[in-house]
């Protein structure tokens, strides 16, 4: 009986603490931007996962897509695509891509991570300027921003007390940035078609001028084994906004 309970608790703790990211997960968010104190819906953000197979290996394709609602398209069209191909078990990235189209401004970026994760072969193209290629060294634990968020979802967050942090290093714009994710506590948040969910409230901070304020960039992850991001609040130099989960499928 005692043994059974120990095994059961071990199994449940593994299930709850070290969840795996499944393929075919689709999370849809409504993105709002704060204009004159009112949150205005501007775009839809879709986070998807799928399995991609090559002749040698199977990868998990993580993608984030942002597209403005049709009413905004004539004024300021956004079609952003962030992608990362990662190892399904470790979430270590092999290929990261960023394709930005924001009101006519275009940038495409491709990072190919070396097998030992020590260098990145990058290709960047901004507007109509010529493509630039550069190889640069990175730390062994460095990853792209997308795989970092998915990695965060697989960590044992139950052991984090309020005020404790997890550290990551992300590569963005050919530079490495230390990122810290601090546990702020638990809150019940509305989670679209999932109803109300108990969530971990966490603060994301990075040594960059792209994020502003202390504890102003927040993410709420469900406290169940799925760790679904249900709400994201951000503060950037040009204002504040939020992503609210509207539907989740394949979880």
């Amino acid at each position: 009986m005692k043994k059974g309970l120990i095994i059961l608790s071990l199994l449940s703790s593994f299930g709850l603490c070290f969840s795996q990211i499944k393929p075919n997960e689709r999370l849809v968010y409504a993105a709002s931007y704060n204009m004159s104190g009112l949150m205005t819906h501007i775009a839809q953000v879709t986070m998807q996962t799928e399995t991609v197979k090559t002749t040698k290996k199977s990868y998990l394709h993580l993608s984030w897509e942002a597209a403005t609602f049709s009413k905004w398209d004539s004024f300021f069209k956004i079609r952003d695509l962030y992608e990362s191909y990662v190892d399904p078990a470790t979430l270590k990235p092999s290929l990261y891509k960023r394709s930005i189209f924001e009101g006519g401004y275009k940038i495409t970026e491709k990072y190919i991570f070396s097998a030992d994760n020590k260098t990145i072969n990058s290709t960047v193209k901004v507007m109509n300027r010529p493509e630039t290629k550069k190889t640069f060294a990175i730390g062994s634990g460095s990853q792209d921003i997308i795989s970092m968020v998915y990695k965060l979802r697989t960590l044992d967050l139950n052991v984090l007390k309020s005020g404790q942090s997890k550290s990551f290093v992300i590569v963005f714009d050919r530079k490495e940035y230390p990122v810290s994710v601090k546990m702020l506590g638990r809150e019940t948040v509305s989670a679209g078609n999932l109803g109300k969910k108990d969530c971990f409230k966490m603060s994301i901070s990075a040594k960059t001028n792209k994020l502003k304020g202390t504890d102003k960039n927040l993410i709420w992850l469900t406290s169940d084994a799925k760790r679904i991001p249900v709400l994201v609040r951000f503060s950037i130099p040009v204002g504040t906004g939020q992503l609210v989960l509207s539907s989740a499928s394949g979880i």
């Binding site: 204009m35 009112l38 205005t40 090559t54 609602f69 695509l81 491709k110």
Partner: protein, 103 residues
């Protein structure tokens, strides 16, 4: 003073119409509400000659308010299928598989 009220009401009524045409959602309520307040005040305190102008601004602002509320209630936020973007995604994925094969 009464003239100033009419000027303000007219200005915010025009601003309200512009905001209503733009996809600014509930933000349009701000100038419309201000226009309604100024138009109401000028209607109340104006002499009969100017009452007509204030009344017209009041009606226009009220109609704008209806349009803003109607847009919020009846028009759903949706993303149109962007064929060019979808094709680009397919091409990009094929290119990615080639890159991954090379690793």
């Amino acid at each position: 003073m009464k003239k100033t009220l009419i000027y303000f009401a007219s200005f915010f009524a025009v601003l309200g119409i512009v905001f209503t045409i733009l996809p600014l959602g509930t933000i349009a309520l701000l100038p419309v509400a201000i226009a309604l307040i100024f138009a109401f005040l000028s209607f109340k305190f104006s002499i009969s000659k100017r009452k007509k102008i204030s009344g017209v601004i009041l009606i226009i602002s009220a109609l704008t308010l209806l349009v803003v509320v109607g847009k919020e209630v009846f028009i759903k936020d949706e993303v149109v299928l962007d064929k060019q973007f979808e094709e680009k995604k397919i091409e990009s994925k094929q290119e990615d598989i080639k890159d991954l094969e090379g690793l």
